[in-house]
Amino acid sequence: MTTLTIPAGMPQYDDKPRFDVERVRADFPILDREVNGHRLAYLDSGNTSQKPRQVIEAVADYYARHNANVARSVHTLGTESTELYEGARAKVAAFIGANSPDEIVFTKNATEALNLVAHGFGSHADDPRFRLGPGDEIVISEMEHHSNIVPWQLLCQRTGATLRWFGITESGRLDESNLEELVNERTKIVSIVHMSNVLGTVNATARITQRVREVGALLMLDCSQSVPHLPMDVVDYDVDFIAFTGHKMLAPTGIGVLWGRQELLNAMPPFLGGGSMIETVKLTGSTYLPAPARFEAGTPPIAQAVGLGAAVDYLTEIGMDAVAWHDKELTAYALDALATVPDLRIYGPEVPVGRGATISFTLKGIHPHDVGQVLDSLGVQVRVGHHCARPICDRFSVPALTRASFYLYTTTDEVDALVRGLEQVRKVFA
């Protein structure tokens, strides 16, 4: 690594917010275990994160002391449960800079949040912004996770609208060269990933936002990978909807979030119908509550929401600026370390700028499944395959990739274990 001397008066590296990684690791019981006789090196946080004691205990404490259904009981436990559930909503709202907790819709995951918005559109929508038909266009990108592709394909099948997409440049960035033509007066919504789950690219959204506003379309960001790793302020970003999921940010599975501007959420039709989302129900017809209740039919994932609230507290305590800086330093280290492995090619930005702590690569002539299997025998847990983002593999003409993804508990020692493991992979398949 090159060492740069920063002139006095400029911001110094020492000024960056930091935390004690070993202290953080002590909060994660799973990090102590062994896998196949080796110390666990969990490098699959982009898939799902590990959970700190504080989150595990919050969920256990909820079930042990407060369990009851929400929003329908007059008794004490029901009141406590409702306060915990709604308290989690307020924490999440503050975490992403939302104007009000009412802008936070709890879903089961980011996929449901994306589907919910896609289902807000239709041929007969009351609000013209959500009315869609032949001639209208929806814009996504080539670097989307399948969850931000398929719901829009289904919507286009239902309505006759056309799906279009941004390409990816050779260096793994979003290709905005045809922005003016791609996003135009026919565009109703642009829904793109904030940080790629494969390439690690963090998309700069300012130009796209400006263009979306010019043509009067809506903008949605899939923040599944970014909200866990970067400070997020939805007002600063000037977007209309974002989706993310709890389990990638230290919380349990089964809880996701849709944030939307309140006015837009209330202009959308319900998604799933049932209890808790209605104003009145008669057999001749029903009326619906405003958001977020409108979109939370049935008993919600209460304990999971409480766990998400605890996760948000944990991340807030450490500070998202510090998490982002940890990711950046670790990514810089890993990019340099991986560059020393012969026949290794990185897919995505090769500099730790405008990218997150997710690195996908191939080893020439060795299939990622075999890479992953040998690494597993050494305790190193990575993801292999097409990562639910097949169009990216097609774009770069590879059948599959190996991906290492880091989080606030990841150490340079674990990156070293990965690099040593890759040497072993090369020996087995030499």
Binding site: N36, H367, P368, H369, D370, Q373, V374, S377, V384, G385, H386, R390, C393, P399, A400, V428, F429
Partner: protein, 150 residues
């Protein structure tokens, strides 16, 4: 778990030097199978000569297990009667579903006994089975087509 149980020499040898690889003509049926969770894929053709499988040709991409399995399949099945080939197929499927508890019959499975270790890795069983599922599909199609023609 011992990695060398999975990556037996026989498997690595078939992976590095596959037998019978490449698509050939004539053929009676041609199938394309994919493994949606990992993106592995295979195109497989069978040629029939009466009751005998006269050739199995294939092409595909995937991990060492899936590709070696196709190579072993080619060696085991080519030149056999359809009924015998299906019996080998059944023995291989049973071995893969055995969670490592089944002792394979080397008389029947020959090089394919090397895959016994794969059965201990649930995530890899589907890799080993990819070409065998394609074979069963192709044979069924070929037989059905012949009946139509008769």
């Amino acid at each position: 778990m011992q990695l060398d149980q999975l990556y037996q020499e026989i498997i690595l040898d078939h992976y590095k030097h596959p037998k019978g690889r490449g698509l050939r003509e004539p053929y009676a049926a041609d199938v394309h199978h994919v493994n949606p969770t990992c993106g592995d894929e295979i195109t497989l053709r069978v040629a029939l000569d009466g009751e005998t499988i006269s050739d199995v040709s294939y092409d595909g991409q995937g991990c060492s297990i899936s590709q070696a399995s196709a190579s072993v399949l080619h060696e085991l099945v080519t030149g056999r009667k359809i009924a015998d080939a299906l019996a080998v197929h059944a023995a291989f499927v049973e071995l893969m579903g055995g969670k490592g508890q089944i002792v394979p019959d080397e008389e029947v499975l020959e090089d394919a006994v090397a895959f016994a270790g794969v059965a201990k890795y649930p995530a890899r069983v589907k890799c080993a089975l990819l070409s065998w599922m394609a074979l069963k599909d192709a044979v069924a199609q070929a037989v059905a087509l012949e009946k139509e023609e008769v």
